[in-house]
């Protein structure tokens, strides 16, 4: 059995358009002073020519392009992790497999468990590799989620108000293999906590329902429960000392701060000033990108991981603890290590630069996008999507490596590179 497994390459795609959520808060008359506690600045907004497939492919493309044909031929599994599915039967992974020209001897499937989907997908891939059934194989795991909950009717915006400032969009692609250049997993080091709860859900293709209090309570219970299970499995585990950095699922930074505080008090009865400085030191780097793309659901922990690796000082190998939570609910705490060389590998993706290049939407443009004009609805049989008049598309001067959705023909989605 090969124990040296993890993430060989990864990339975050944070879309082409963003919104300043402080301006949104002003526009919606939300309390600005308390809003600061959310620890969020911007969010990515999906354009009508973007969907979970295009987000996923745009995240994975630079990784696949950097591989040799031989390396590419060893991709034997493509797992999509999402709560933004586009079909009840056909998985997003089938489109990705085609658009990236991947080999036909490949397992394609999709995983759903709210925001836990990404951790579940990564664990599926890791355990495939750890099983040793196909030595040298690679797996492509992609989280992809967008939020378009205001499409159903005019009242939806009002109902959505509590989560509107934080609902973002993004995809994280990860090449998982026995060459874990970026993040080497600690095999067998994990803990789970799960129970049935109706905290948030997506009962329809363009609707979201939820109870903010219950969701926060379940998140806090799971943070404690999953870490406790991790500590039961991993001899000598110490939440304060074992992990130089931590990445928690990030609906918004304030929730991460609350969970960290809860755990530090529960485990060590740590005084508040010490909790604050520990949060700033070990968790703040993980918010670097999350506070710019918003809640990316299944990809939240990996957005956090790219944030740490790109922004934290890493001068020697160090361990990162990761906590994933998905409503409904299931959670997991697991860990792995990063190195200075891994930091250099991820830096090649220029994630920060790509986020800076996004078109900053005006409130009028954002409201137009919310209205859903031109946006493809779930179950549409035929449609064409024009790139004309889409905010930011022309002014971005689109390159040749951006995949867009151009329509649907007899339910089959069609894409092109622009």
């Amino acid at each position: 059995m090969h124990q040296n497994v993890g993430i060989e390459a990864m990339n975050l795609y944070g879309g082409r358009a963003s919104l300043d959520v402080h301006k949104l808060a002003e526009y919606r008359n939300l309390e600005i002073n308390r809003f600061e506690n959310l620890l969020i600045d911007e969010k990515t907004v999906a354009l009508p020519c973007e969907d979970p497939v295009s987000f996923a492919v745009n995240a994975a493309k630079p990784i696949i392009d950097a591989l040799s044909e031989e390396e590419k031929s060893r991709i034997e599994m493509v797992v999509t992790c999402t709560e933004s599915g586009i079909d009840f039967g056909k998985s997003i992974s089938t489109y990705i497999h085609n658009l990236l020209n991947l080999p036909s001897n490949c397992r394609l499937f999709e995983i759903k468990q709210a925001c836990y989907s990404g951790a579940a997908g990564l664990q599926m891939a890791l355990n495939f590799l750890l099983s040793g059934t196909s030595p040298g194989a690679k797996a492509l795991v992609i989280t992809t989620d967008i939020s378009r909950f205001a499409l159903d009717d005019k009242n939806a915006v009002q109902e959505w108000a509590y989560s509107e400032p934080t609902s973002g969009a993004g995809a994280v692609a990860m090449l998982v293999s026995d060459k874990p250049d970026i993040f080497r997993i600690d095999p067998g080091a994990y803990g789970n906590h799960a129970f049935e709860v109706m905290d948030t859900c997506r009962p329809g293709p363009d609707t979201e329902a939820g109870d903010a209090d219950l969701s926060l309570m379940a998140y806090l219970d799971c943070c404690n429960g999953a870490y406790t299970d991790y500590a039961r499995r991993v001899e000598g585990a110490d939440f304060k000392k074992s992990f130089q950095y931590l990445c928690f699922h990030t609906p918004f930074g304030g929730m991460v701060k609350g969970a960290h505080r809860h755990l530090m008090r529960k485990l060590y009865k740590t005084p508040s000033p010490e909790i604050e400085s520990d949060f700033n030191e070990r968790l703040m780097p993980s918010l670097a990108y999350g506070r710019r793309v918003g809640n990316t659901a299944g990809g939240g922990i990996f957005v956090a991981l790219t944030g740490v690796i790109d922004n934290a000082p890493i001068s020697a190998p160090l361990r990162i603890g990761i906590f994933s939570y998905g409503s409904g609910c299931c959670s997991e705490f697991f860990s792995g290590t990063v190195t200075p060389d891994g930091q250099k590998v991820l830096a090649k993706m220029n994630i920060d630069q790509a986020l800076k290049k996004r078109h900053l939407l005006s409130m009028d443009e954002y409201e137009w996008l919310l209205s859903g004009e031109q946006t493809l609805r779930f179950g549409t049989k035929d449609a064409n999507i024009s790139l004309d008049n889409i905010p930011g598309v022309s002014s971005n001067g689109t390159g040749k490596n951006w995949l867009v959705l151009e329509g649907v023909s007899d339910y089959h989605r069609e894409y092109r590179w622009v």
Partner: protein, 82 residues
């Protein structure tokens, strides 16, 4: 520990967590949401109260009360279950 004691702990933790409410009358009929305490602060107040009561129960088991009086009664019942 009586229900009133628990209510007093809750009120004290509300003042600790949201000092701007120090002059606001808070009673058993008060709903934390209605006086502008957000969900993060509500969780914070609940966690601090559990600590003060030396009570360990899942947070989700405390979901449902509509006001501080109902919450005090639920916490009292949980404490009595031991």
């Amino acid at each position: 520990m009586s229900t009133t004691d628990i209510l007093n702990i809750l009120i004290s933790e509300i003042h600790e967590c949201v000092p701007e409410l120090i002059d606001q009358p808070i009673t058993a009929e008060t709903s934390m949401t209605e006086i502008g305490i957000n969900s993060m602060e509500r969780a914070e107040i609940l966690i601090a109260t559990l600590e003060a009561m030396d009570l360990t129960v899942p947070m989700t088991s405390l979901h449902g009360p509509k006001n501080l009086g109902e919450l005090s009664e639920l916490l009292h019942a949980k404490k009595s279950e031991g």
